[in-house]
Amino acid sequence: MRIEIIWKFLVASVIFLFGVIIIVSTMLTYPLTLDSVISGYYLESLHLTGSINAVTAILLDFRIYDTLGEILVIFVTISGIMMLIWRKNDLKNC
């Protein structure tokens, strides 16, 4: 029992360190500073998208793939829960 807990912590720490290494190496090898690239788009969001609300402009235009991913997350969640909870005859009773 104790060995299993130590083994789980070992695996978790290895995965965590792997993620940290990837993030840090990405940040170190990024050629430009992040502020100079992004801040212009925040100011110009009204002219670029036609939306007065800057949050919506960023969420539904600049970061549209992020929104698509969130929608797919909800969709996959509901599909999985429906698969787990429903029994065989539930669709016939509906």
């Binding site: 939306s51 609300n53 969130e70 969709f75 969640t77 669709l91």
Partner: protein, 126 residues
């Protein structure tokens, strides 16, 4: 099981919750708010009614709600493909932010209602 006060208050409060949620969705591109937030407000209004009055009668409508959910994903991707037909890149802006907001709001509303209905299903059948 629930008292008369709770029933009357929730019954009178629910239309205003729905109105506020629809307002947040439709004005999402002009004022603070958006599809997700408005959808969650709408879902809370529906879940309030189902907590007070019981959600047993809504159980048979889960496939219909799931169909709306699938239709939301389909329409969202379809609006991305629509910009290709105009000769632009995938998901480039055509002035359709408000339509995407409405689609997202409908989808989140239906999704949270489905989650609630599925989670109380085990409690009903017990």
């Amino acid at each position: 099981m629930t008292s008369r006060i709770v029933k009357i208050v929730s019954r009178e409060l629910t239309p205003f919750i729905f109105l506020f949620g629809i307002y947040i969705i439709i004005y999402g591109h002009l004022s603070p708010g958006g599809g997700f937030q408005g959808g969650v407000v709408l879902a809370m209004g529906a879940i309030l009614v189902m907590v007070i009055y019981g959600g047993e009668k809504m159980q048979k409508y889960v496939p219909h709600l799931a169909f709306i959910e699938i239709l939301g994903v389909f329409l969202f991707v379809l609006f991305g493909l629509l910009s290709i037909s105009y000769g632009k890149q995938f998901y480039s802006n055509l002035g359709t932010i408000w339509i995407l907001n409405i689609i997202i709001g409908l989808k989140v509303f239906v999704g949270l209602v489905i989650l609630y209905l599925l989670f109380i299903r085990w409690e009903i059948s017990k």
